[in-house]
């Protein structure tokens, strides 16, 4: 027997994204913390928001594993691509 999925509460996801965006703005312009910490937290929040969109609006959370793999494969490639290009600058 397959597990049936219920439709997610899209308005709740929207509210979640809105709150995270406000948190990002507050973090970027109001919070007196170090620049590196700010950078890390902002990137974390951005990835969090992007994951919410992919999982719930693009329905990756409810797709079969093979389609999830198709969606996830470019991500490590993207990281390798950027790191390889950055290594040109470092060395």
């Amino acid at each position: 027997m397959e597990t049936a999925h219920k439709r997610p509460n899209y308005v709740a996801i929207w509210a979640y994204l809105f709150i995270l965006t406000v948190a990002e703005l507050a973090l970027a312009f109001e919070l007196p913390i170090s620049r590196n910490m700010k950078l890390l937290l902002l990137l974390f929040l951005a990835v969090w928001k992007a994951a919410l969109v992919a999982l719930f609006f693009m329905h990756l959370k409810f797709e079969r594993w093979n389609l999830r793999v198709l969606a996830l494969v470019p991500l490590p490639l993207a990281v390798i691509f950027v790191l390889a290009a950055m290594s040109e600058h470092v060395w």
């Binding site: 899209y10 951005a46 609006f57 329905h59 079969r64 093979n66 691509f81």
Partner: protein, 239 residues
């Protein structure tokens, strides 16, 4: 004994064997995978240019109009919700709109259906592009060009008094307009595609609970564009 369960997240039409995905959707996912690499090239170049730049990089808050872009970000997030509501409405065969009062019956819901949600997405998407055009005009007026800072402009004065770094403004201008410009182009393509589907299919009632492939596929593209903007907004405007 097996139980047949209705899964609202699964489409009712035939899919490719093994993958369980119909062709149009699979094609869109493959295209989006290639788009990830396209935007990685742009964002990666920006990171390398910025952190390998010969000197300080301008603070985004001094050059760019953050409040108006924050509003634009909010608009794009709203458009993702309206898009997914259009999809859910047609897939479920019922209205996804607010109830007139708490506890109201389904028949009492104010339901405009898929036509309303698609039109809302198109209008909000077009608003995003319009605000981006306004932002560009405003930036050019202040003297921020893809080639750097225009002589005699407001920003040129900030460069002259040391508020903005002279050495990296050209790199900043070219990377900013390239990244946001390509994203704006993608949003424009999405709005045009949705308008096409709206007039040729949605208004003519060609989508049904049995076939809503067009809406699901364009929805995937639209959410991806939103996702890219979430990353771009943070990297370009906030960091």
């Amino acid at each position: 004994m097996t139980h047949a369960t209705v899964d609202v997240m699964r489409p009712p039409y035939p899919t490719e064997r093994g993958l369980d995905v119909y062709n149009t959707k699979l094609g869109m996912w493959v295209f989006l995978a290639s788009e990830v690499m396209f935007f990685t090239a742009l964002i990666g170049s920006y990171i390398i240019l910025r952190f390998g730049a010969p000197g300080e990089w301008a603070k985004p808050g001094i050059v760019l109009n953050i409040p108006i872009t924050a509003v634009n970000t909010f608009l794009l997030i709203c458009s993702s919700v309206t898009m997914v509501k259009a999809y859910a409405t047609i897939a479920d065969g019922e209205g996804h709109f607010f109830r007139l009062r708490p506890g109201a019956r389904l028949s009492e819901r104010l339901d405009f259906g898929v036509k309303f949600w698609m039109l809302a997405t198109i209008v909000i998407g077009a608003s995003f592009v319009s605000i981006q055009v306004y932002e560009y005009l405003h930036l050019v007026h202040r003297g921020f060009l893809p080639s750097g800072v225009r002589e005699g402009s407001e920003l040129a004065e900030l460069v002259a008094n040391g508020t903005l770094p002279a050495a990296t403004m050209g790199l900043y201008g070219s990377s900013f307009y390239t990244m946001t410009g390509f994203h704006g182009f993608h949003v424009t393509c999405g709005v045009v595609s949705m308008a096409y589907l709206y007039f040729t299919k949605t208004l003519r009632g060609k989508y049904s609970q049995q076939d809503y492939r067009g809406i699901e596929t364009i929805g995937l593209y639209w959410h991806f564009v939103d996702l890219v903007w979430i990353i771009l907004f943070t990297i370009v405007y906030l960091i």
